[in-house]
Symmetry: C2
Subunit: 212 residues, 2 copies
């Protein structure tokens, strides 16, 4: 274990600001109270060194001493294992947090990201493809609704699973997609009211604003 | 740790047979040489007990003694930690396997699953939405190609990351989507030539055939 360095883009357009995935990592680091620093990699001209750390040319990645980790899910799992507070230590709690961490990415974001791409690209007019993907997301939210109506956090206490699930649902909320799902909406509101989220969000906005 | 029980649907239509996600779990169990048994849950009439194990009403889930785990990624992580062979034990190898496990699900399947939904629903005619999602998948495959041209397996030795990545790429290959990516294609071929894959695939086909 060594110094934690989070690398993200030096700049991004206005649209994704506040939603770039380094936010998930900043949020987890702030919740855990782990010291870290932030470095930048060019957004416009992505070099070989960038692909060596992140094979898809995306951001962020995290270095921890001589480990370099990409994928926000893998980074949050690593931070959960390093912290005392973000991943339950008992086998049942740990297992619940991990299944919900994967559910955030592979069941909910799997439906919400295509839906968001339709939104961003302005392809939400009546068409078989849009109706298919809109229905796909709504089915997943309909299953999340009773889960979130019955508990404050996904795995008993606030964990890395909540950071990922909330960050996924935030992007749905941006396009008013949670209006019919009050428990999902309230969950996003109570999670984003945490001081660590506010700090992470403000820091991301300031980071990209500095490059304008 | 207790008896391992894999629960999947009692029956599915012809189209998804050979591709239902219990295959990922069967494959890992066969590779690890862990004893297990398979139980069924109704496909057509999904009861409350199903949603208690799998909140989205999907399959599979795995029980290990008094733990019940859903999400194929979480199940494979659990099996990787139980086996001696499917998840490297050294910090660097483990970290590499985990980042590629998440990459399979959240970078590659994130693009391939929407692409497959366009394929399954016959919406691959020239349209802005299809072109967007076809381009999304091709960009991800273009980044996987040099990675797989340079190594036999993603994390040095065969691991749970390969099981997930190969199972994701198999569905692309079903619709001829790997024709321009020979390293991806060869990777799928050498992984699916493993006896554990053949056993898992044959067992899934036989399981659903018994219900016809």
């Amino acid at each position: 274990m060594g110094d934690l360095i989070l690398t993200t883009f030096d700049w991004v357009p206005e649209m994704p600001r506040g939603y770039v995935r380094d936010l998930r990592v900043r949020w987890a680091l702030e919740e855990a109270g782990l010291p870290y620093r932030v470095e930048s990699t060019p957004f416009r001209d992505r070099k070989a060194v960038h692909f060596a750390h992140q094979p898809f040319g995306q951001a962020p990645w995290l270095t921890d001493g001589d480990l370099s980790i990409f994928e926000s899910g893998a980074i949050l799992l690593h931070l959960g294992e390093r912290s005392d507070t973000l991943l339950p230590g008992d086998p049942r709690g740990r297992s619940e947090a991990l299944e919900w961490l994967f559910a955030a990415l592979n069941s909910v974001e799997m439906a919400s990201l295509p839906w968001s791409l339709f939104q961003f690209s302005g392809n939400t007019g009546d068409s078989p493809a849009w109706n298919l993907f809109d229905g796909f997301l709504k089915a997943r939210l309909a299953h999340m609704e009773p889960v979130l109506a019955g508990r404050e956090w996904l795995a008993g206490t606030f964990s890395i699973a909540d950071i990922l699930m909330v960050d996924v649902l935030r992007l749905v909320d941006r396009f008013d997609g949670l209006a019919d799902y009050p428990a999902c909406d309230a969950y996003v509101a109570r999670a984003t009211a945490r001081p660590a989220f506010a700090k992470a969000h403000a820091d991301q906005m300031a980071h990209f604003a500095r490059a304008d």
